[in-house]
Amino acid sequence: MKATHTAAAGQQPSEQLRYARWLDWGTRLGLLALAGLFLAYGTGMLQPHVPHERLATLWSLPVAQFLAATGLPTGWQWLQFAQHGDVANLIGICLLASCSLPALLALVPAYLQRGERVFAAICLAEVAVLLLAASGVLSVGH
């Protein structure tokens, strides 16, 4: 099985293997942060902004009402509350949602070196889309 995988890997384009390597490390880092921070939150090592018992009475509300009841903000302003266990977990989630970014950027020089400008442009456009989504410009406010 391993031999087949190695043979298959040998036949894949170098940029595909480069993307896989970056994605692998990014995902590991994101999942590690997610699990570690949730453990700290669940065990009470990091005190939550919304206590567990109260959270159970609020999670059936629409998001706008939930935010009004808890005083939590939209966009990147959650960073101001990052010392709290529940909000700190968003760090792991953001890492997971961003781990394609370095992998995409790592492809750009590889494509440019081979003269594949269209694919380099597609990678940069995808990075721009992800950054636009992450910026909160499109989604902040109700």
Binding site: A8, E53, E126, V129
Partner: protein, 314 residues
């Protein structure tokens, strides 16, 4: 004889695994005196069980997760969709590197499709968070029933032949080499109908962002039957497309405050652990039977969402 009996017992157990979480959650929904930790724990168990059956059924866990959790757990649909996107994202990211190295995912096929789907998924997510919950439940119900119909009628082609790659496919050099680990055969594949594929993926991205549901159920037929990629490459590439599309949509949910770690993290961990077991069971279980059971559960969850949206069964 003994082997048949053992197989039937295994199938019965899996059947119970699929149906139990939905039934248990429905019964317990009325019991509001439960401690706070009950629901995250129930969510972890449910996600774990969904993870087990999703792999042999050949669908993404997110497709089962959103209708079941939205239908039978007390969480608001906004948070369920946020968690659903993260479940689909984490699963796609975890599998991505291995699929790329093994040639089961094609980066060249992924990048153009994911770009359009990512853009439309952002608009889908924004739209989903703007529409009233009843409308979303109703549309979700209709969509899940549509998925059931698609699963019932769709055909698959192990090695479709793209006889003449179109201009776009030629210009972007969308082709690859796939070494089948099971048969050891090597397939040099190429794609066609690229423009129509791009258009379809824009629509799929919109739905994925709106409902927080993984879109493997739509990606795979589009890649396999329309664009001519081998079945296993289609499944692998679908995962890689999801890893980019769901990242874009997930940011919208995070920025809107619609991601609750207490809901999202147990779901992600449960689903990933379950999927590992599901992958091991792939050779033991009869995939067609599992698929039929999953269709039954989806049918149930779809009708539930539809009735919830209509205010008949809230």
């Amino acid at each position: 004889m003994l082997a048949t009996l053992r197989h039937r017992c295994l199938v019965a157990v899996v059947c119970l695994l699929v149906l139990a979480p939905a039934h248990a959650a429905d019964v317990l929904l009325t019991a509001n005196h439960l401690p706070w930790w009950f629901w995250p724990l129930a969510l972890f168990v449910t996600s774990f069980l969904i993870g087990i059956v999703a792999v042999p059924a050949g669908i993404g866990g997110g497709t089962l997760f959103v209708p079941i959790v939205a239908g039978f757990f007390p969480f608001h649909l906004d948070f369920v969709r946020g968690a659903g996107l993260l479940v689909a994202l984490a699963s796609a990211l975890a599998a991505g590197p291995m699929l790329l190295r093994g040639g089961l995912s094609s980066l060249r096929l992924t990048l153009p499709l994911a770009l359009l789907a990512s853009i439309s998924s952002i608009f889908g997510a924004m739209l989903g968070l703007t529409l009233p919950p009843a409308a979303i439940q109703l549309t979700l119900g209709l969509m899940v029933l549509g998925i059931v119909a698609l699963m019932l009628v769709s055909k698959k082609s192990e090695f479709p032949q793209a006889k003449r790659p179109d201009r776009w496919s030629d210009a972007l050099a969308i082709h690859g080499v796939f070494v089948d680990g099971a048969s050891g055969s090597t397939d040099h594949w190429r794609s066609h109908h690229t423009r129509l594929g791009l258009l379809l993926f824009a629509g799929i991205g919109l739905l994925g962002g709106m409902f927080g549901i993984g879109a493997g159920w739509a990606n795979v037929p589009a890649l396999n039957l329309l664009m001519g990629a081998p079945l296993k490459v289609s499944a692998g590439t679908s995962g890689l497309v999801l890893s980019l599309v769901d990242s874009s949509a997930a940011w919208v949910y995070v920025n809107k405050g619609a991601v609750l770690p207490m809901i999202a993290v147990p779901s992600v961990v449960g689903m990933m652990l379950g999927a590992k077991i599901g992958a091991r069971l792939l050779n033991v279980l009869k995939a067609t039977l599992i698929r039929k059971m999953v269709i039954s559960v989806l049918l149930f969850a779809g009708v539930r969402a539809l009735l919830k949206g209509l205010g008949v069964w809230v």
